[in-house]
């Protein structure tokens, strides 16, 4: 029991955050390890670029480490983390001053060709499609579909109204649907990737 209590891996996020805020490096280490993959995933989805995502992940972790004492427990620690990660990723996107370079879309494997690993193909596919969206639309879609935040939480993270969140998510998904080749039947929507707001900075 004693060992379990002293092992930070068994502590809750809030307990670890409080300890980290008091200068407990082990608690901070455990917290960062616990959320590293999800922080990276958020950055990866927003930046749609593996290298940029690692840079943003590093910056997000540094930011969490520096500001851990500012976490007041009003939101879940994970939500706070995702907010920091989102900001780090959007900062990284602005710093690059460019939309992430589109990844070459891997063609659908032909029946008699050597099959490409489906997961890799899907990743390349989604990265390429996401790269066509603006970082703001990618952030809204990622926070909803990857992290699972509700519209109100996303609105708080991105500091935009919930209606704008809904609009960005819808347009982001619609653009992705078209980009990923899942075109709707005739008459049910035939948007092109660059003809709609998702690729601009407007909601």
């Amino acid at each position: 029991m004693e060992g379990r209590r002293s092992d930070p891996r068994h502590s809750s996020d809030d307990e670890l955050a409080a300890a980290a805020a008091r200068g407990d490096a082990r608690a901070l280490d455990t917290l960062l390890r616990r959320h590293a993959s999800m922080i990276h995933a958020v950055c990866r989805r927003i930046l749609a670029n593996a290298d940029d995502a690692l840079d943003a992940t590093q910056n997000a972790m540094i930011s969490i480490s520096r500001r851990i004492e500012l976490f007041d427990g009003r939101a879940k620690f994970s939500t706070w983390c995702y907010r920091v990660a989102t900001n780090a990723a959007l900062d990284e996107a602005r710093r690059r001053g460019r939309r992430p370079a589109p990844v070459e879309i891997v063609p659908e494997p032909l029946g008699d060709a050597v099959p490409v690993d489906d997961a890799v193909a899907d990743r390349l596919d989604i990265d390429a499609a996401l790269a066509q969206l603006s970082p703001e639309h990618r952030a809204a879609v990622a926070l909803r579909d990857l992290v699972g935040l509700d519209y109100a939480e996303i609105a708080a993270v991105l500091k935009i109204p919930p209606g704008t969140v809904r609009s960005r998510i819808a347009r982001g998904r619609a653009a992705l649907a078209d980009l990923m080749g899942h075109d709707p039947p005739d008459g049910a929507g035939n948007q092109t990737p660059t003809s709609e707001h998702p690729t601009s900075n407007t909601p």
């Binding site: 590293a36 972790m61 990743r123 998510i169």
Partner: protein, 278 residues
């Protein structure tokens, strides 16, 4: 409201479908000016069903987990983050320490400067020639020699010499003030001048620090030219207030080589007596 059931704009339809995927259809319908029934009717058309599936696949693709970071990369990122934050913290601490040191130095400088200024003011006040008439000193222990001013008066208040009706008494008191050795009587010469007629009688006795002292100080300044003329010029090295035969007088002492000329002047500036010391 959309009572005519016209086909919805495809962006509106996408927004309704997307919101429905997230369980937000009612809020979306309200924001878009539709009833929930209208919204539900719109998203159940055949075309909408296919579009809904496409949006759902896009959502699932985004939600598909990004491959987790490998342990080495995670460890590297975590370690670097903590190290960086700690370095910043140490830099911040060092900076705050430097700032505190700077603040302390500044405070010491300010305190030292203030103290120096206060000391300078005190010393300056102590050595400043008295210009105010109300600062007359009644002390008998005043300096023996005082620098003269252009108007022939002494720079500081006249010293109180008491009753000097007796010339010998005046001589002793002046000798004490001037730190002169007691002079034999026969070495000193004294000339008594009769008081002018019409001068008003004044009470006898020692002076005290009251308005009469200030009045006499003014008299000393006013009568200095008379005394200087009687002594043959120069600035008095000592001025004293005294009473002679019941009248207030002012005593002026002028240096003449190793000797001193003493001129006693009444309040109306008439010369009462003169003598030479030692």
């Amino acid at each position: 409201m959309n009572p005519t059931h016209e086909p919805l704009d495809e962006r509106v339809l996408d927004e309704l479908l997307s919101a429905d995927l997230d369980g937000e259809l009612a809020a979306a319908a309200a924001d878009l000016g539709l009833s929930v029934d209208e919204a539900r009717a719109a998203i159940t058309s055949a075309a909408a069903v296919a579009r809904r599936a496409a949006l759902g696949r896009a959502s699932a693709a985004v939600g598909a987990s990004v491959p987790p970071l490998d342990p080495d990369t995670t460890a590297r990122l975590v370690t670097a983050s903590i190290t960086e934050a700690r370095k910043d913290d140490e830099l911040g601490t060092a900076r705050r320490r430097r700032e505190r040191r700077g603040d302390t130095a500044r405070r010491v400088m300010v305190v030292a400067g203030s103290a120096a200024a206060a000391i300078a003011v005190i010393v300056g006040l102590a050595h400043m020639p008295t210009s105010s008439e109300d600062k007359g000193s009644m002390s008998l222990g005043a300096p023996t020699e005082r620098a003269g001013t252009d108007d022939g008066s002494t720079a500081t208040s006249p010293v109180a010499l008491g009753d000097v009706s007796d010339t010998e008494q005046l001589r002793r008191r002046l000798a004490a003030q001037l730190r002169l050795p007691e002079a034999p009587k026969d070495l000193a010469s004294a000339t008594t001048v009769s008081p002018q007629k019409g001068s008003s009688p004044l009470p006898t006795g020692e002076f005290s620090s009251d308005s009469s002292g200030r009045q006499q100080y003014r008299s000393a300044r006013a009568c200095a030219p008379t005394a200087r003329a009687a002594a043959g010029g120069g600035a008095p090295v000592l001025t004293g207030r005294a009473v002679s035969d019941g009248r207030p007088v002012t005593v002026y002492v002028f240096r003449r080589g190793a000797a001193y000329d003493v001129v006693v002047v009444s309040r109306d500036c008439s010369v009462v007596s003169r003598l030479t010391l030692p």
